[in-house]
Symmetry: C2
Subunit: 207 residues, 2 copies
C-alpha cells in the first residue's frame, strides 16, 4: 500500500499523473512545444482538456513539468557523468552516453532540451529562453568539472575549461540534430571517438 493511499475527499482521479506526464513528455519530446497540440496531448493521455488543465495548469506548465520529468529521468545520467575520475573520462562518458541515448529505440530521437523550441513563433519565447537556460546549465556543469580537473592536474594547464565544455555541448547538440535526421548509434559513436582524439590530457600539449 502506497503512502499516498490515504483516503482523499472528492471524486478520485481516474488517471495516474506520472503516467500522464510520461505520455506528455513523449509528445513534447517528439513534436516540440508548439508542435504539440492540446488535441494530440489529450488524446494520447486519454483524458479531456478540463482534466488536463485541473491537473497540470496549462500547456506551458505541462511542458515545464514534462521537462522536469525529463531531467529527473531520461537524462539524469548527465549529472552522474561529472563524477568520473578524470576530465577525459567525463568527456568520454558524456559523448558516448549521448550517442547511445540520442538514438535509443524506446523513446524519441534527439534531445528535448536541444530541439523542443529552437525556432518558434513569438508566443513561445518564454519556453525558448527556458530551454536556452537549460542548455547553458549543463554546459556550465561541465565547465566547473573541468576547472576542478585542471586544479587536480588531469587536464592540461593551457586548456580552457569553458571552451572545452562548450565544445562538448556543441557536439552533443549537433549529435542531437544528427539523431533526429536519422543517424545511427554507431555513426554517433564514430563522431564521439573523433572528437575525443584531441583531448588535452595532462601530459599532452594542446597544440
Amino acid at each position: 500500500m502506497s503512502i499516498n493511499d490515504k483516503k482523499l475527499r472528492g471524486r478520485p482521479r481516474v488517471f495516474d499523473m506520472d503516467e500522464a506526464l510520461d505520455k506528455a513528455l513523449a509528445i513534447f519530446w517528439k513534436r516540440g512545444y508548439e508542435g504539440a497540440s492540446l488535441a494530440e496531448l489529450t488524446e494520447t493521455l486519454g483524458i479531456n482538456k478540463p482534466s488536463l488543465y485541473a491537473a497540470f495548469g496549462n500547456k506551458e506548465e505541462l511542458f515545464k513539468k514534462s521537462l522536469s520529468r525529463y531531467t529527473a529521468g531520461p537524462v539524469a545520467f548527465v549529472k552522474d557523468v561529472i563524477n568520473e575520475p578524470t576530465a577525459f573520462k567525463v568527456a568520454e562518458r558524456f559523448l558516448l552516453n549521448a550517442a547511445e541515448f540520442l538514438t535509443a529505440a524506446n523513446h524519441p530521437k534527439g534531445c528535448m532540451i536541444v530541439q523542443a523550441a529552437l525556432s518558434s513563433g513569438e508566443s513561445s519565447d518564454i519556453v525558448k529562453d527556458l530551454l536556452i537556460q537549460y542548455r547553458y546549465a549543463y554546459e556550465q556543469q561541465l565547465a566547473a568539472r573541468f576547472e576542478k580537473a585542471q586544479i587536480d592536474g588531469d587536464l592540461a594547464s593551457d586548456a580552457n575549461p569553458k571552451s572545452l565544455a562548450k565544445y562538448l555541448a556543441t557536439l552533443h547538440q549537433g549529435m542531437s540534430v544528427q539523431a533526429t535526421s536519422g543517424a545511427s548509434k554507431d555513426e554517433l559513436f564514430e563522431i564521439a571517438k573523433l572528437a575525443l582524439k584531441n583531448w588535452p590530457n595532462k601530459n599532452k600539449s594542446s597544440n
Copy 2:
C-alpha cells in the same frame, strides 16, 4: 534597362519578388516553418494574402522558394569551400566560415536548414524531411571531397571520409544551436579550433 522590362499585359506587380522572397526568408529563418505565420509574412512583405498566394503558391512553396534563395545566397559559400586545395583547409574554412556566418549581425542567428523544422507537428513532416535531405546533401559533398583528398594523398589513409564529413556536419549543426542560444563569434571560433586539432593529415597517424 533590365532584360525583363519588356511590357507585359495586365496590371503590373507592385512589389519586387526577390525582395519579397528575402523578407520571407528572414522570417522563416528566424521563426522556422511552423513558427512563421501568414499574418507575419504578409505584414512584413507588405502585401496581402491573395497577392502572396498568386505570386508564390502557398506557405509550403513560399518556404521552398525561400530555402532556394537561402542556398543560392547566404550559404553559397559552402559550395566554394570544397574547392580548397587540401582536406584540412576544406574543414578549416568550413568551420571558420560557419562560426562567422552563424553569428553574423545582419541576419538571424543559426542555420535555417538546421533549425527551421527540427521538431514540429505532423502537418509539417514534408518540410521536416526536406530539410533532413538538405542536411545530408552538404554532408555528402564534404564526404566526396574527403574521398578525393584521400586519393590525392592529403588525408591520412586510415581516416574515414564519411565519418569526418559527419563530424564536421555535426559540429556545424551544434554551432548553429549554440549561435541561436547566444554564443558569440569568438566562442564558435574556439570550438572550431578545438575541433581541428585532431585532423588526420597525411603525415599524422589518426590514432
